[in-house]
Symmetry: D2
Subunit: 404 residues, 4 copies
């Protein structure tokens, strides 16, 4: 943790979280990686009393939501700690997409929905999913969307096709983005967020999309969903009609901070494994891998890049916290592509330093190598964020460039 | 195919091979990717008569070995064609490690072993493996080896621990590198190659090492093997005692050409998918992905790098063919690291251009992304080849640098 | 020289050229670098009889033009040899822009102009320049041009503003691109090439544009020119009216081959200096720079990239020679950006390996570092060539993209 | 300026400094770049009263040394502002090497030397130089040194050969590193710092070493010096005998912060020019350079890298300020290579975006391009810092690696 961003409650909480991960999670990681997540989920959830005992349940949430009440810069630094194992966030019930969905429900859910969904989510008894991305439309242009929710009396009738509805498998509810106001002047005012129970008629989990060789299961999966004449009451609407993008943006800002810091946790884990290997692998004749300058180069560049990424993300988090998401928009685009690329390079170097071992599943590295390739794509590909950043900058020089 | 390296028989054979792949293999690829390889093997082997009918069985081998009798530069170009699908080489019975093992057996096997193993290998009825890499020793320094073969009368008694004995699962025989002459002055004269039937007592396939999320099966697997007091007759020795490295080197030279050209086939496949996507994916408002300069940059850099790699590999193959492996040693080190890095970059760009689709298994790209990460590691990591090349060059400037 | 591209006459000529450079040019290079080029020119031209004695005068030109009559692939390889010193091409009277201008004059000049300009150019008694680039218009879009040539009876009246009219200082003539047919349907049919004597009224060499710290002089300079009501007879037109771009393209194709191979010569020079330094610079305690893997990495990557670039350029030259410029258009775009980037990286690494010495003028490296930065810009910047290449490729996938 | 690192006095001082630069310096920059520095010096020094009027004379120094008394983190941020023009630091009398020399003299100079040298240095009436680097020894290994100072009664007799004694031309004094205790056990305890007046007999400025095409003059030069039996009184010793390295280290730490922040100033200048060009250069048909994604990519990557570098340098400065140089050693190595590489890339992209204009001296970019190439070399080349950082890290993993 950097002194520059440390706070008293963070200094107090972080060691408890780290110790918990080191004692209760990381020793079982290798074993859990070979199990279906639906099994792992039970084991982890059984630890909930221990998690509560250290005051870290619902780790991202406000005090009146049962969490420790950290601010964004503090949460960010906790997210790094959790990122050191694939099971970190889930353990503390602050995993995506539930953490973001919980925020939405707190703000916009009706009392009935709160009771039915929000309380069990906070209790870790239910899971949820967020259904936005569509295979037919480029994610880099979020206003393109084929899913519709048509008003029919007191109900919406939803039709559409989604994928990368992560964690749909076993979820009790989906928050769905659908076009409700196709004729709205602004393309950013056409879609809404609607809560859909997954047992609603017409909700079909077509498959867990196989990603990098595995369909996954439970929380650790990415669903393809068909919505066919799904009827839900109008009261399932979250926020005003047409506010879907606005809410998605609100959600994405902190979400990107969380992701970026999680990646930095992954980086530190990979970096640690790389250094450990370099320091202990003998090449013969008493010469160790770490004495080789090409390996030193990997270590030095990784150290520099991880440090750079952490400072940038925390700086952006601080700006967002103090001045709001809009003011920090350029910084958020910047960290999204910068940190995702650092992540890929650091993991890649760690794999390389491990040689043949690096591509096996005997370390966590090959999991990270394939699983985190998505980081440069989801929540906006590198190219979209770079172009967006450049356009923001050039606007200050008098050049207006429309998207596309 | 480049005119510069085309030959009449290549011009004649290549289209037949390509057509076969396009009609008999690629349409089933997606389906086969989801099956255990042991099942796929049966389907592919059932096509053997068709393969023979187009004169492409044992595609790498000499005429008197039942192959078409191509030279190295021709074989190299065929290997590129086959590389466009993960099932290419297997279809024509020229897959690693069997193709290299067949060469060894032709040269060094006793008549009895030829009959028992070589003929069925050529017929595609058996499979073999090559057992060299050890987890405890750095592959970049091949003279370090823990496996021993101790003479006991007319037998060797073999003890050791290997991994990345690829395709051991289901193989009938292993060709094992073991130290027979630990006291030899040169560390390069201490090991020998010995044929070991996999049903020999003491031969244990500990596991198929899980690689990038999958243990694989059959030919598509990487075995961890324990040799515990395995007894084989001295006549199972291949070549002279102590010649193991020499034979391994002889095998590795053409092997690297084959691999590099296979990678270029993979590159062309990925490049084709990338361009297809760029040309057809609409971003909205009639703008296509391929109109974006960042995507154009990916395409242009990939085109340049693939062309560069192909020319370098074929040039090295030509030099090896005419002047021998020793003369082409610098070129072989160069293409090994150069082509492996081009491979990784091109696949990575193709994934990126596909967005979320790129990390799914709905295209072949995610398979290549994880499977071909090993290319920068096996047969010598980048770092070993770069250092070796630089040391060769600096020797001409009067600076002798020992390895390690 | 690569066996693959060697020819008997090349094998015969190349050593003579190399020996000449090593004995008559390179020993004086350091001294000449400190002199105005106008002085160096006299010294070099005084060696003309010696150059003629080895049959290398007008080295690029056909036999009936007084040259050795090499084909493009041969010329390319000679250009590499000459590239090893900044004075190479000039020594053999095949320097840009004169070599290209001579070709134009051979094809299109009137008998009077031939006598007045072509013969002395071939004799090395005159120099010429090529006046195309304009400061006000982006060079990446060659159809934008402000200079006009308006017909007035038997004369053209030329007005315009050019820069990077290289070697204008001291030239006897300029070949000027000017719009003669502004109303032509195709923007590629609007400009023409016109010969303008530099002593014509209204021709003003405003300045030698200072480039990377130096305005240069004589051949080694880049002129800014104003054309103010310059009158030249219509017979000074080279080729048909409106054919300017066509002729420029014809000229640029081989010109890019020459440049790319010259850059490879520069690369080899830098590479040689880098290796020499690495092999001889002691870091203390008997450890030499070349033993450090980071330096080995520089050497290995440079070797690979130079070899790749050479093969690509010669392959492109061969294709152009056999199938024409149009057929080789993609290859020419590819080598232009690929080789220029290799050039920059190799020089940069050589500078780095030299430490403080590398930025001084005590080696040729700092000259190359600053002088060759232009390579990624002139004759089309990287970005234009990459975009052009990608658009050519995507056309085959059914996507037509207009420039801009 | 980042809020995170802003302080009240910085907020107050920075705008005055910026305004001064914008009104009194930058408008004349282009003109001064063409003049010998010895002339420019007079013009700039004539502005001293104005500089004093805004309280910015001796900008880096403590209040009792006539400066504003900023701390390191504040000075760092001022150094960025000054870095936006090559004349920035000189204007405020805080240019290297004088600023560092002044610190040394404050701490270690005798009263006589203070009066003779320190006062006029603080007044901007004298200049000094720092004479450490030797052409015969690798700068990456600072304990190798050929210059000796042998005690002869009350004097030292100095003999040696130095270069990159920057600003020696016209300096009144040199601070010289020379071996005084060759037999000391630690190689780090053998050299001392000694003040040598440049008019001492035996002090010879052999030449201003030509760097990137120019020998420079006055402050803007890099001297090669011969010391031949130079006699100076023992009282010219600065600090204890054998403390040379310790003092050099003390000086280098803040020096690297200053340099890195100066580079960030250069980056911001180049970035601003790049964006200005991208926003205003038309490619034809109303399309501007900045609409091209390849240019947007340059802008986005530059923005990210500059922001990363600034945060890292200021974070390192903060750590050094609070915990001392030793505690911040890893951070200082990291910023040295990280920032120097960002600098080179950002300048390079800005040149590229300017096209042909970018290599001319019509903008400041070509000056920065060639002048700042040294940043990756001086004060320790990239490779030395990377290796040093990796060795520090690996020590924590139990692997001790000696230098060389």
């Amino acid at each position: 943790m950097l002194d520059l961003f440390a706070t008293p409650r963070l200094r107090e909480l972080a060691p408890r979280v780290t110790t918990f991960l080191e004692e209760e999670i990381i020793p079982f990681e290798q074993e859990w990686m070979q199990m279906p997540f639906t099994e792992v989920e039970k084991i982890i959830r059984a630890k909930k009393p221990k998690v509560q005992a250290i005051g870290a349940w619902n780790l991202y949430h406000a005090k009146h939501h049962g969490g420790p009440g950290l601010n964004l810069v503090e949460v960010a630094q906790i997210s790094e700690l959790l990122g050191r194992t694939p099971f970190g966030h889930f353990t503390f019930n602050c995993q995506a997409p539930d953490a973001g969905n919980i925020e939405l429900l707190f703000q916009y859910a009706s009392p009935a929905m709160r009771e039915k969904y929000l309380e069990p989510l906070l209790a870790g008894e239910l899971r949820s999913c967020f259904s936005m991305t569509e295979p037919e439309f480029a994610g880099s242009n979020p206003v393109l969307m084929g899913t519709t929710a048509v008003r029919d009396g007191d109900h919406y009738i939803i039709n559409g096709h989604k994928w990368f509805t992560s964690s749909a498998d076993g979820a009790a509810l989906a928050i769905v983005m659908a076009v409700t106001n196709p004729e709205a002047a602004s393309p950013y005012m056409r879609a809404s967020m609607i809560l859909v129970p997954t047992d609603a008629e017409g909700f079909e989990l077509v498959r867990n999309v196989p990603v990098m060789g595995h369909p996954g299961s439970g929380w650790a999966s990415h669903g393809e969903i068909r919505y066919t004449n799904v009827r839900v009451p109008v009261s399932n609407l979250l926020g005003p009609e047409g506010a879907g993008f606005k809410l998605a943006q609100e959600r994405l800002g902190p979400g990107r901070i969380h992701h970026c810091m999680r990646w930095i946790g992954v980086c530190e884990r990979a970096f640690d494994l790389m250094c450990r290997r370099a320091a202990t692998r003998e090449l013969g004749n008493g010469v160790f891998l770490g004495e080789k300058q090409m390996v030193q180069n990997f270590i030095a560049e990784s150290r520099a890049e991880i440090d750079a990424a952490r400072l940038m993300v925390l700086h952006a988090a601080g700006k967002m916290q103090e001045m709001g998401q809009h003011a920090a928009a350029a910084e958020i685009s910047t960290i999204k592509f910068f940190a995702a690329n650092v992540l890929q390079r650091v993991i890649d170097r760690a794999v390389q330093v491990h040689g043949a071992l690096g591509v096996t599943d005997d370390t966590i590295l090959s999991y990270y190598y394939r699983e985190e390739r998505g980081a440069r794509i989801y929540d906006g590909p590198d190219e979209a964020h770079k172009s967006s950043l450049a356009r923001k900058i050039l606007k200050n020089y008098g050049l207006s460039i429309r998207n596309n």
